[in-house]
């Protein structure tokens, strides 16, 4: 690839993205059951958005994680590693069988992402409220160089409660960084319960508008709508764009959807099997697919 032809290596269309998101969700359940620890609800709910980003939007070369022409994305919500790692593995940054060593001493996939351990992870994270600032710096530096890259900050709704997020929002609006796009996984759930009950954010879009951002809201499970929002964000000039992606935590698993208890725990093997049935597979089948991948 050259700068003239920089594009996502997959460029899947909505139907294919839907199928890919299903596989990603099977990865997530399988790796969490195997790890016996980790966060389930957020990664499952963000799977449609993340799949669209990794298999249509982001520009990268998995053979060269530090390829200078790449886009950059920052998972500020470090606990989203199951979806982050699954997408990186499916995209080709490392073997898919590595997913079965998630959170284990003999693997390279730390519980929260470590840039020195895992190809494709730009920066370590796991303490909330820092990703938007990192993205601000990367976007500002890229613009200084006239680099065509786009920089994406992937944020959770809960971490909007961190003051440093708003320091970064203020700076990005002030400096009119239109090469920066923040995507908020807006599922309205955090560890202690409903976001609006724990520490209300609404009206979140108005808050970003007040900080001079271009604000888009989409159904985070409508892949065509997510694609359209990403197109609009790319076309928009003169200010950074934030996409509030409305998602349902735990989607589509019947016993996980919208339940805060699924924020920070893994499924038991029995729960995992039940979830895999809902996803049209089995733990054994998917584990063997990962082992041979």
């Amino acid at each position: 690839m050259t700068p003239m032809t920089r594009q996502n290596p997959h460029r899947l269309e909505p139907d294919a993205l839907t199928r890919k998101a299903l596989e990603i969700r099977r990865d997530i359940i399988t790796m969490l059951v195997e790890a016996k620890s980790g966060h389930t609800g957020g990664p499952m709910g963000f799977a449609d958005v993340a799949t669209t980003l990794f298999f249509h939007e982001f520009v990268y070369d998995p053979a060269r994680p530090k390829w200078p022409d790449r886009d950059m994305w920052f998972f500020s919500m470090g606990h989203m590693t199951p979806i982050h790692y699954s997408c990186l593995a499916e995209a080709g940054f490392f073997p898919r069988r590595d997913l079965l060593k998630f959170r284990k001493l003999d693997g390279h996939l730390q519980g929260h992402p470590s840039s020195l351990d895992t190809p494709g992870v730009e920066v370590s994270s796991g303490s909330l409220g820092q990703g938007l600032s990192i993205a601000f710096g990367a976007a500002h530096g890229s613009r200084m160089d006239g680099h065509p890259r786009r920089v994406y900050a992937l944020l959770s709704d809960g971490e909007q409660q961190e003051g440093s997020t708003w320091e970064a929002a203020m700076a990005a609006g002030h400096y009119k960084l239109d090469n920066l796009c923040a995507i908020i996984d807006y599922n309205n759930i955090q560890i202690d319960g409903c976001v609006e009950d724990v520490m209300g954010l609404a009206p979140l879009g108005d808050k970003y508008r007040a900080f001079r951002w271009h604000v888009l809201e989409v159904d985070g499970h409508d892949i065509a709508a997510v694609l359209a929002a990403l197109d609009e964000a790319r076309a928009h000039k003169g200010s950074p764009t934030v996409i509030l992606a409305r998602t349902v935590m735990g989607q589509p698993i019947s016993f996980m959807r919208d339940r805060s208890e699924w924020h920070g725990k893994p499924p038991t093997p029995e729960q995992g099997e039940k979830a895999m049935t809902e996803l049209g597979s089995t733990l054994a089948e998917w584990t063997s697919r990962l082992l041979t991948a």
């Binding site: 370590s124 600032s133 601000f136 710096g137 890229s142």
Partner: protein, 316 residues
Amino acid sequence: MKKTREGFGRALAELGRVNPDVVVLVGDLTDSTMVSFFAEEFPDRFIEMGVAEQNMMTAAAGLSLVGKIPFLSTYGAFATCRCLDQIRVTVCYSDLNVKIGGAHGGISVGPDGATHQAMEEIAILRSMPNMKVIVPCDFHETRKATLAAADIWGPVYIRFGRENVPVVTTPETPFEFGKGLVMRSGGDVAIVACGVMVSEALVATETLAARGIDARVINLHTIKPIDRMLLIAAADECGAIVTAEEHQIHGGLGSAVAEVVVRHCPVPMEFVAVDDRFGQSGTPDELMTAFGLKARDIVAAVERVMRRKTARVLEN
């Protein structure tokens, strides 16, 4: 007498001329941290971040990821304590090429009082994997340390002060990152100092010499990584060590030296530092006196350590 912070500001302007990747971020303290020299010459590579230090720290991390060499500048107290989580998780855990300029270090900031006097940050940053810590002693050394930081990969903290302090090195004095500098040879006791305490140590040696004590003075500008061989030789050859720093007694230069000495060549040690208390307002000289950081305090510490050294010899 000259300001150490000017050494930082002048060096950044020099770096700007030779290295297009150098960028400078400031948190609403352009003039007082003296990055104005860079700002005037390279406005396109200068980023005003406002009063938002946490964002400044992680923004610097982001700049380093796209190949920049970011130097950020604010008071040492804010750059470190305010942004510790950003330093730990984003900068150090990822080993990013971020340079932190900590201005107004130590107690000699003076009238602003405890909130603006960084006296804990060496201990804190020393405990962070991948972080390097430099505390230069005067204008020339601050300039050289800043130039050197641009060539060292990874996070570097450079601490400098606000006030005019004695110039005890020259433009030609060698500066080697990670190596201490013997400023005065001597075999009875080694005084290991950093920052402005180097000049206090040199003053102290005059009194000590008059009392028949031949003191070695080591300028340990790089606290991490520490110059183990130089310290082991000093302990071995002098048999007693006094450390002197403008910092809390816990966890700073003295602790770092003790970690090496205890492990490799245990000898009696004494520590000249701030004794577990916050700073306060006053003139710099009043404060240095009130907090026991003057040459006479070093002399007293040397006399204490010499008595312990002699007692040990007698026991043997």
